[in-house]
Structure formats: structure tokens, C-alpha cells
């Protein structure tokens, strides 16, 4: 009897500890930032959001993240396809390299891109001769975003390709469809949900990226200053309301995307 009682106490203690941890660590801070952004009233919030440098930073982030996502959709779909469908020497190596950007510290990724594209590097000099600079300009930001979000589309497409029934494809060929027609009419629709959810995760990560971008962007207000770096600058200069206002916009954006991806995935599983 006493041991059951004891274990019930233990169970109760564990439950409250775990729930408390969850609420204090995750729920509380997120609610806190929404509360704080409105602490000085709607007027102050609106002022900080409509501040030209702030909305320029947000708009620039969205634009560059979109470009990075499109690039990742293209190369990610291709790489996912090649890694699943073809057998060739080095396939396993490439497949394990896919996760590298997730494992690598973002500041290290930023440093790598900085060294690779800098004015002294071959790439930098070559671009210089063609008359444009990459580093500390928008292309460098896009490259950093592409690097950091590289695994998302590949990892979302691969399981779909693995599950796909080869019969569908064979049927298309038997009925005389060309390779291109089979790809666009049969294979691509099967991959589409994976591409979509991978792209959205990549987009939300690109919106949020800080470490890799801050080192290569140059951070010129209105030109190469993205939202997360803007927030960092506002924190450094003690403008908490400005920082929280932009944070809330960025957060709401990301939450909506996350919610949509979850919705998409549960619907797919439900079928």
C-alpha cells in the first residue's frame, strides 16, 4: 500500500515538474513578447512598425527569403530525386552530407561564406571583374540563406519518392508517355506535398536566420539590413519596443507558416 502511495506522489511530482518546465520555458516567453510589444500601447507599436527602416528590413527579409526558397526548391527537388532514384558511387556520402548545414554552427557557416566570397578570394575577384560585388550585398545574404536551409526540401521530398508506387510510372510509360510527360504528370504531383512543406519550412527558417547572415550582409540600413539583424541592433541600442514590434511581426509570420505545414501534414496522413 505504502509503495503505491509513494509512486503516486512521485508521479504527481513528475507531472507538475514537466508541465511547469514546459509552461515556463516555452509558453511564458512567447506570451511575454506579445504582451511587451503592446506595453506602450498600439500607437507606439504602430510607430515602430511603420518606421521606414523597420518595414524595409522586413520587406527585404521576405524578398530574399523567397528567392532563397525558390533556389532551394529547384536544387532540392533535383538532389532529392537523384539521391533516391539513381545508384552511383558517392551516393551515400552525398546523402550524409545533406544534413551538414543543420549540424554546422551558423556563425561558422557565415565565416565560411565570408572567406569564400570575400574580395581576396577567387570568386570575389572574378565577380569584381564582371563589375559587381557579392559580399556585403544582397547575393551574399541569399547564398547564406540557401546554405542554411538546404536540407529542408531534400529531406521532405525523399520519403515521398521512396513510398511512390512504381506501377504508376510504369503504366504511364506503357501507355506511351514520354519521359518528360511522365515526370510532370505522374512523378511531380506525387512529390508536390513534400516540396511544398519543405519549401515552407525553408522559408520560415530563412526569415529567422541570423548567425550566417550577420557576418556576410554588411548590415547597411535600408539596403542589406535584414529583420533579425535589425532586431539585434534595436536590442543593442536599448529600443526594446522597436525590437519587440518587429519580432512580433516576424514571429506571427513564422507561426502561421508552421501551423499551415502541420495542417498540411496531418491532412496527408489522414487520407
Amino acid at each position: 500500500m505504502s509503495s503505491t502511495l509513494q509512486s503516486r506522489w512521485w508521479g504527481w511530482g513528475f507531472r507538475s515538474a514537466v508541465m511547469l518546465y514546459f509552461v515556463l520555458l516555452i509558453v511564458f516567453p512567447i506570451l511575454g513578447i506579445y504582451g511587451q510589444s503592446l506595453s506602450a500601447g498600439w500607437g507606439a507599436f504602430a510607430d515602430n512598425v511603420t518606421e521606414p527602416l523597420a518595414w524595409k528590413a522586413v520587406a527585404l527579409t521576405v524578398k530574399l527569403a523567397l528567392i532563397a526558397t525558390i533556389i532551394n526548391v529547384l536544387i532540392g527537388t533535383m538532389a532529392g530525386w537523384v539521391l533516391i532514384r539513381y545508384r552511383f558511387p558517392g551516393r551515400k556520402l552525398l546523402n550524409s552530407m545533406v544534413d551538414l548545414p543543420f549540424a554546422l554552427p551558423t556563425a561558422v557557416a557565415g565565416l565560411m561564406i565570408l572567406l569564400l566570397l570575400g574580395p581576396q578570394s577567387p570568386v570575389g575577384q572574378w565577380a569584381e571583374r564582371l563589375g559587381f560585388t557579392i559580399l556585403f550585398h544582397q547575393p551574399a545574404i541569399v547564398i547564406a540563406m540557401v546554405f542554411v536551409t538546404f536540407p529542408f526540401v531534400i529531406r521532405a521530398v525523399q520519403p515521398l519518392l521512396e513510398e511512390m508506387d512504381p506501377a504508376e510510372e510504369e503504366a504511364a510509360y506503357t501507355m506511351g508517355a514520354t519521359k518528360a510527360a511522365t515526370f510532370f504528370r505522374v512523378i511531380l504531383p506525387n512529390m508536390a506535398p513534400g516540396i511544398a512543406s519543405g519549401a515552407m519550412l525553408a522559408f520560415s527558417r530563412a526569415l529567422a536566420e541570423f548567425g550566417a547572415v550577420v557576418l556576410v550582409a554588411g548590415n547597411i540600413p535600408g539596403k542589406t539590413l535584414i529583420a533579425s539583424v535589425y532586431i539585434f541592433g534595436e536590442i543593442e541600442s536599448d529600443n526594446v519596443v522597436g525590437a519587440t514590434a518587429v519580432s512580433v511581426i516576424l514571429l506571427t509570420f513564422s507561426f502561421l507558416i508552421l501551423w499551415f505545414v502541420n495542417h498540411l501534414q496531418t491532412r496527408r496522413k489522414g487520407r
Partner: protein, 265 residues
């Protein structure tokens, strides 16, 4: 056609992933061994690596424990209603969507020296923000979903028949967990732990905001790399970055291994 696609994939991987890694490995040696060793054995570098180690250990232990417990509750617990479970399940993912800088800002807003809570703790002599505890909390926040996202699907998949059988036969909660549940989730936990270590090792944005990046006090390996780059001290930045990169590659190999074990547990 097939050849072309394979070649193109190799080119993308070489340019996007291969070249940066090779470049940083070479950059660390551009002043020879002494440059590399000098950058790494600077007192500030040693201190920063020590801070990173402390954070990684604390965060991994805490989040593994709470992660496994919460996954068990979210999948099995009868005392949580299905609606609440669903809500919590979606909240678990939120740290993925939060920019690390914003994650750091949240902690400063709640526990910073000017807030009520921070002031109270400060007067009791406990410093959270701009000190090690705050950096740990920031990293805990960022790495929170990793273990849960690995363990929950496995728990859902194995079902609870075996566990029920064990408790019908009279096994206590702990015995059931260690003898029945643990062996099936073991490799997913390992995988989640490796992901947590990798993320904690590399966390930058959140830690930068919370720590204030104070030399010899709250500087971690990644924020040191950042500061070195800002000071145009590239060789030293490279040597620390190379150590971090080597660590991540080792973790990547460990991940592959854990994944292959996860496949046939």
C-alpha cells in the same frame, strides 16, 4: 540525361557544401601550425570553449530528461485531455519558428536586470541575464523540440500493448519504462541527443543577445568567432571555427550511425 543530373548534383554539393568546409580547413592553416595553435590556445579561446562545453552538457542533460518525459505524457498520459494534448503538441514546435535573436530577446524581457523578476533575483544575488544561467536558458529554449520530435513518433508507432501487458503482470511504472519502453525508444533518444548537442554547440543568436558577449565571462565559442571576424582577426576565427566544424562533422557521422540503428532496433 541521367548522367547529367548526377553530375549536376555533385556540382551543387561541391560548391555549396564542399567548398566552404575545405576553405575553412585551409584558412586555419594559412599561418602554419603556430597560427592555428595560437588562435586556439589563446586564453579567451580556451575560456570560450569551456563555456560552450558547460552549456552543452547542462542543456543536453536537462532537455533529454524533460523531452523524454513530455513525449511519454503527450502520447500516453490519460490525465491530459486530447484537446490539450493537441494544443501542447503544436506549441512544442514553436521554438523552431522563433528566430534565435527573438528567443534571446524573450529571455532578456522576462529575466533582464530591469524587469521585476530579474530585479528580485538580482537583489538576491542571482544573475541570470548576461551570465551563464541565462545562456543556458536560451539554449534550452532553442533545443527544446529536438528530443521530443524524435521520440514521439516512435512511441506512437509501438503502441501501448506491451506496456499494458507489463503493468497487468504487476510491474511498477519504472520497471515497465526501463524494461519495455526504453529498449524501443533508445535509438531515437540517442538521435535526439545528438541533434541537441549539435544545436547547443552551435547556438549563436540567442546566446549572443542573452550573454552580452563579455570577454572572459560570457563568451562562447560561436560568439568568439563572431567577435574575431568583426575585429578582422580571421586566422584566429578560423581555428576556433575549424574545431567547431570538426565537432559538427563528428556529430553528423554519429547521427548517421544512430539513424541506421534506429532503422532496425
Amino acid at each position: 540525361m541521367r548522367r547529367l543530373w548526377i553530375l549536376l548534383t555533385f556540382v551543387v554539393f561541391a560548391l555549396l557544401l564542399g567548398a566552404p568546409v575545405v576553405r575553412i580547413a585551409m584558412g586555419a592553416w594559412d599561418q602554419g601550425w603556430s597560427g592555428f595553435a595560437g588562435g586556439l590556445t589563446r586564453p579567451e579561446a580556451l575560456h570560450a570553449l569551456w563555456m560552450t562545453t558547460l552549456i552543452v552538457i547542462a542543456v543536453t542533460v536537462i532537455n533529454t530528461f524533460f523531452g523524454v518525459m513530455l513525449s511519454l505524457y503527450l502520447v500516453r498520459a490519460a490525465w491530459l485531455g486530447p484537446k490539450l494534448k493537441k494544443l501542447m503538441n503544436s506549441i512544442v514546435d514553436l521554438p523552431f519558428a522563433v528566430s534565435p535573436v527573438i528567443g534571446g530577446l524573450m529571455i532578456v524581457l522576462i529575466l533582464g536586470p530591469e524587469t521585476a523578476l530579474g530585479g528580485l533575483l538580482g537583489s538576491a544575488g542571482i544573475k541570470i541575464v548576461y551570465a551563464l544561467p541565462g545562456m543556458m536558458i536560451a539554449t534550452l529554449f532553442v533545443t527544446f523540440p529536438l528530443v521530443i520530435r524524435e521520440v514521439m513518433p516512435v512511441l506512437q508507432e509501438i503502441g501501448n500493448q506491451q506496456e499494458e501487458a507489463a503493468s497487468t503482470l504487476g510491474a511498477y511504472g519504472w520497471t515497465t519504462f526501463w524494461r519495455v519502453t526504453w529498449p524501443s525508444i533508445r535509438w531515437s533518444v540517442v538521435y535526439g541527443v545528438v541533434l541537441t548537442v549539435a544545436r547547443a554547440l552551435g547556438e549563436f543568436g540567442a546566446v549572443l543577445v542573452v550573454s552580452g558577449n563579455i570577454l572572459f565571462k560570457t563568451q562562447t565559442a560561436t560568439t568568439l568567432v563572431y567577435q574575431d571576424v568583426e575585429n578582422f582577426n580571421l586566422t584566429s576565427a578560423n581555428s576556433v571555427a575549424l574545431v567547431l566544424a570538426a565537432g559538427s562533422v563528428a556529430l553528423l557521422l554519429l547521427m548517421e550511425w544512430a539513424k541506421s540503428r534506429q532503422g532496425h532496433h
